[in-house]
Every structure is written in structure tokens, then in C-alpha cells.
Amino acid sequence: MCFDHDYESPSPNPAAGIARETLRRCIHCGLCTSSCPTFTELGDENDGPRGRIQLMRQVAEGSLPLTGRVREHLELCLDCRACETACPSGVEYGRIVEPFRTAMLAADRRWEQRFDWFRELILLRLFPYPERLRVMLGPVRMSQRWGLFDIVRRLGLLKLLPERLARMTELLPDPAPGTPRLPRFSPAVGRKRARVALFVGCVADVMFRHVHWATIRVLQHNGCDVFVPRGQGCCGAIHLHCGDALGARRLADQNLVAFELDRYDAIVVNHGGCGAMLREYGVHWRDGLQPHRKKFAAKVVDVHEFIEQLGMTLPAGRIDAAVTYHDSCHLAHAQRVTAAPRQMLARVPGLKMIDLPESLLCCGSAGTYNLVQPEMADRLGRRKVENILRTGASAVLAANAGCMLQIAAELRKAGAQLPVLHPMELLDLAYRELPWPPDSRATAGRTNGNTSPPRLIR
């Protein structure tokens, strides 16, 4: 007797591209389970790293059919990679689950069995393209500015939109005044110590351009010439995670062209998710360009880590506030950057850092996860916000666009008035000796001095 329907999908073995040794590295010790957000919430091995690896391994070996249930457990994975940090055996979980899911979803796309308008139209065709996104957001921004949006949100009219579109709209940050385009070049302040290119991305550039402005100024204060190469675009993470490896490769190759590697000491990234993807350009596709992609990836560095290595210039301003810092998964787990942002912030005169309990547990944003797995995303979002509020901090900092959107949306739902900032925004205030709490207008659209490109000396 069978109670539930559990179907088998006809896709070819999605584990085909995964090295057997990578799968066999897991020794089933279970030390990773408690680091996993979904295991922590559900307590089911199938929703924990060890169980998921076993599922994928058995599918790979042909001893387990890829049933609907198996897929659900794999799709519920946030790909936050907390399990990688936890694993003493060095199991590269991301390199198992990412190709596996990409293949699984790609097979769907081919058969158009589970054709999903949301994924096809919104996630793949709209999100990764800053210009399209900007156009689409135009009317939304207007209504935000006129307060219509707030009324709609409060009346719950959003519920009338198809669910996932409504979620997407819910995530939108509060209206910020239109932020001017980023300058192609901003010169170092003081002694010049490095020449860097800033990666701006897609969602980050549309919704968080003020963070880019702040980042540029902080880099300038730390003696960097900052370039923003034109022609760069989305990192490709959204495509890859939706199973569109080809689309992702196109975007990657566009970036390869946009960044002339020899001109810069580093390609600096300020959002954890983009950084993680860029740093893995060398592993996702095997073709003639792979060596070049590897070279590109080797130049990519997180902005906090970069400035820490350079030696941070102390800010002149003071910020008398107590704040807390949330670790973005793709910064902390995929890139293993946890100390640098905290160390930088700790040097700001007056600033008090309060430890955030469960800081390393995903907030539920996880790229587009929030839009496709709403229930788990909400649970994790609520949990994150409860932890944040418990600290009593007057602001929360996070170095990733997705986290900032998710946390702000959850704070709004909880009725809390806590600003969510990127560490670069706070540091920017400190360097410029601006008052706290921040005034969003003050951070927009100004760099330090001259913004015309310098003479190029090769």
C-alpha cells in the first residue's frame, strides 16, 4: 500500500559530470548536519548535507531512482555551503550539488515537463539584466515614491499578484532617490597603493548602486584607483542555479571581455554571492576558454579581504552605535571571509560590534531561493530576524544584496525599524565623517574628486 505519489523523472543521470572521488570523499560522519539551515529547521537527514550527498551518490551509482521526493530534498537545499565550512574532510559539497541540480533542471528544460514561467521569464530573462530590471522597476519606484506602494503593501493587495511576483515585490527595498551612474574612474586619495576594477553585477547595480558608490569611496580612501569597466554584466549565478549553464557561460564570457586583467591588481567585489560565482569561473565550464577564466577567477577578491590585506587606513570619523554583522553564506562559506569585515568595522572609532547568534546560518535569501522556496525562506528569515532583534543592535550589516533584501523584508514584516546596511556604507560614513544614523541621500552619487579617466600608461 502506498500513501503518497512519488514519481520518477526521465532525466538522464544528473550526476554524470561529477567525479566519483568527489562523491566518495564523504565519510558519513555527520559533523556537518548541525551547520545546515534546513536540517536545523526540519531535523531530517534527507534535508541535511550528509543525507543529500548520499541521495546524489546513490542516484549517481544507479541504486536510487531520481524520484519526486528525492528532487524535493535536493531543491530545498539553499546551496549556502555551510556544510563545506563544517566538513573536516574537505567535501566540496557545492561542486556536487551545483552540477547535479543544473543537470536536473536542464533536463526539465529540455523536456519542458516542468516548464515554469516564473523561472523562464522572470529569473532568467529579467533579473540578470540591469537595464530590463531598471525599466521594470520604474513604475514600481514611482508608486513607491508616491506612497502608493506602501498602501498597497499594507492593504495586502500584493496578494492579488501571482504569488512569486508578489514575493519579489515584497523584497524591494524602500525607495532610494535615483542614484547616478558610477564613474568609470575614481582616483586614489592620498598615496596610491593599488589599481582595482569594481564588479557591479545586476541586481546589485540596480537596487544597491549606493553601495557601489560607498565602496568606491572607501577604496579611494584606502589608496586605490577604482575603475568600473563598461560592458560588464551579471555574474551568471542566477542562470547557473536555474539550470541554464549555457546562459551563465555567455555572461561569464561577456565579463572576460569587459575586464582587461593586466590593467588591474584585482577585480574587487562587494557582494558575497557575485564574488563566489566569479571566483568559480574556472571550474564551471570545460572548454578552450577555461584557462582564461581561471586567470580571471584568480584576480577576483572580496573588497573587505582586499583592503585588509592592503592595510586599512583608519577612518577619521566616529560612529557611536552598536551594530551587528550577519555573515552572507557565499562570503563566509564559499569564500571563507568572516574575519575581514569584522576587523574593519572594529576599527571604526566609537562603533560597538555585538555578536549575532547563529550568524553563520543562512537568512533564507540564497540567491533566488527566496522566490522559489518561499516557506523555508520565510522560516529562516524569521529566525534570522529574531536573532538580530535579540542583540539589541541599532543596525544590521551584511555584505550581500540578497541578504540585505531578505533581512530588510523580514524586519518590515516584524514591524522593526532597523536599518540594513552594507559594511561599506558604514565605513564610508566613517571616512567622510558623516553623522549616524545614515541619511540615504548623503551616500549617493559623489566620489572623492576627479572622475575623468587617467592617462593610460601600459
Binding site: I27, H28, C29, L42, G43, E45, C87, P88
Partner: protein, 470 residues
Amino acid sequence: MALPELIAELRRVLSPDRVLHAPSELAAYDCDAYTVVRRRPTAVVFPHDPAEVSAVVTQCAQRRVPLIPRGAGTGLAGGCVPIDGAVVLMLTRLNRILEINLRDRWALVEAGVPNLQLARALAGTGYHYAPDPSSQGASTIGGNVATNAGGPHTLKYGVTVNHVLGLEVVLGDGSVRRFGPVAGAGAPDISGLIVGSEGRMGIVTKAWVRLTPNPHEFRTFRAIYGDVESATRTVSRIIAAGIIPAAMELMDRGIIGAVEDAYHFGFSREAEAVLIIEIDGPPPGLDRQQAQILELCAQCGAQEVLAAADPAMRDALWKCRKMAVGAVGRLSPSYFIQDGVVPRTQLPHILRRIAEVAAANRVRIVNVAHAGDGNVHPIILYDDADPEQLRRALRAGEELLLECIACGGSVTAEHGIGIEKREFMSRQYAAADLKAMQRTAEVFDPFEILNPGKLLPDRTAGAGAGRPNE
């Protein structure tokens, strides 16, 4: 067995989404961290509270279907292997810390709380929960209680049983009972009996655990040796000198390589053995002990002794030691780990024997040890794709355990008997003693449904239950 009805009943007393029974979802429950024996359960259930645990037990008892409590599944003796078509009962959703009472120095926690979650909740209070198994990041308080877990610091502070003040337990007839005076007036003080019973005398749902004041100060040292014997001699000499360090841990060359790959602490890969020694207490006494320990290390031939300069370095050192076993995936696709105990003076002997046994059986064995306790953890490496290697590995493991018994020791200190070592019980205990244990278990589990076939070599277990996978 009327399984479909049982599943229907379980879905009714819990809720349908808290009962797994699709074959594809059961695969992840076929073993714990001991992967030699794997069996498929009938179902996996996720109760939320003791009342639901009791309802599940009642359903299984009525049908005489075996039931296996499971926490984090980090057990190393196969205690969670669902033999005989058992139902697995997950305690992971009983995961709240209910009370921390600093004045009376206890905490009340649900069984599914990971050990580290409690440790984190206590940070900054000036108190801690002393048992610190290396698996503490994941393993649950309930699992720690059921296996009487130890850890590096049990040398000075004792094992789990010394830190459990009371328990709430669901017995095999479905009744919910409390033991230990802290659990309420009239609760008989027999929690000690339940601790270490590996799920056979009841399912632990809550534990009142003792909180220990943090020591004034720590001193942590890392000593490097050119041979294992000098390291073990140091251990005996330190204890003989009347010093009880907080911890005294050994790692050999094989495991040091894996740890170094994982955490880049800076251990020399050339070292044959590393000892981690920690002392704690009020500073005046520590200075004297420190001088003595450094002297003894030097006398025994330590090549280098380094004191942890700050708390960060101490943490890094402990991380290396605690994650060592989990790092063996860097050495081999599969392993199992033995948990033998010998009198401390026999440490040099047993480590020599381990090397001989490895050579004779052509398997690779690397070692970590709670050396201060005479508790050795030879880690036997093998490739699960090769049945012949597994056979040799199992033979080596068996020879080592017999050697421990011959030395006047035991086949387990902290990992438990589980399914792995139950045949050894009759070598260590007389038939009458085993009978007495069996009858004690029956008092708590009249229908013999709680984890039968584990711990005791009893009749209920299906024949060949402990046989490795094909």
C-alpha cells in the same frame, strides 16, 4: 507485522508529513557514522514533544515493531542501524533549551539539542557543560546521554553520567517517567542506569544537566615527538607525578597529516606524535604544574613544546584535535574507529600492537587517543568498494579489541557497543551478568521494542543483523 496500518496510525498520531516511508526517503537512515552495517527502516517519524514520542511508542508496542531513537546519527557503533525493519524515531525536533538555572547550576534541555548549542547558550555566563565529545558540534544531548559520551576534558571532569542530574524518559510501554530528584518530588534517583543504555531502557526526551563553573585559567601545550612511545611515556609520567591535567590527547603522524590539510595549524608533518596537554585552575597552582609538565616532556624526549599564546590559538588547537576523526575522508573513502581502553601503563604496548596488527592485516591504521584516560581510537581505513579490504579491516579491529580485553581493559570507553561490538559483550561479561542486564532492560522495555539487538547479545535480534553489507 501489519505495517501499512502502523504507518497509517503513525500518520494519524503525528501528521502525514512527519512520517517518512517512501523508499527513496528511507535510504538516508540506513546507518549512522558506522557505515559497515546498513539496513533500511520501515519508516522514520518526527515527533515534536514527549506526548507524541509516547504515542509513537504505544503504536509500535502494540504491534511489537522495534523502534530506534536517533539524534544526530554521529554514533560510531551502529546504534542507530534499523535492523529487523525498525521504525526510526528522530529526536531532532525536540530542540529547545528550556531553562538555564545558574543559581542552582543546572540546565534543562530537550534531547535533540546539539551539545554545542548548549555550550553557546552558556557562553558568557561563567559556566559550562563539561562533557565535550569531539562530535559536540553535531551530536545531541540525548545521544550523549544514551552513549554516556566522553571527550577530551573527561580526564578531569568525568563523562556524561557525572553531569546528568535528572532525566525525562519515555519507557517501552509508552509511559513518560522522570528520574532524579531535580526532576520533581518522588522521582527515583536512577538516571545513572539510563545513561549509557543506548536507547534500550527508554527514549530520553529531556535532561537536567549539571553546569560547571569555568576554570580561572587555561594553559594549553602542544608537544611534538619523534616517536609514539616517548609521547605515551610522557602521559604515564605526568599522571604518576600526581598531576591530573584537564585533558591529555594524542595524535599520530597519519592523522596529523589530515588535520594539517584541513586546518593548516602548523603541525610538522614529520612529527611521529603530537600530545595536546591542557591544565586549568587558579593561576598560582598552574605555574608549578606547567614547570613540572615542561620538565617531564623534555625528559621523555619531546622535540618541541609550544604553549598556546592566546585563546584564539587554544581554540585552533582544540579544533584540530576535535575535528581529527572527521578529517579522515582526506585519507580514505571509508573508515571505522575502535574505542578500546587499557590501563594507562599499557598505552605504549597497545600502540605497538596496533602497528603490528595493521601490518599483519595489510590495512592502514591512524590513531587519536584520549591518552590520559588510556582510551585509544585506532582509525581503520579501508575502501568500501573492495569487500576484501573490508574483511581485513574488520579482522584487524577484532584483534585489537581482544588485545584490549587481554590487557585488562575494555572494548569501549565512550562510543558504546551498538551493533558493532555486541558479540564482544559475552567475552567481557559472564552469562549471568548479561542475563541480569537483559532483565533490567526488560523492566523498562517490557515488549522489547526499544533498539533491540543493540548493546546486548540478546535473542530478539534477527540472525545476522550485524553482518556487513554485501
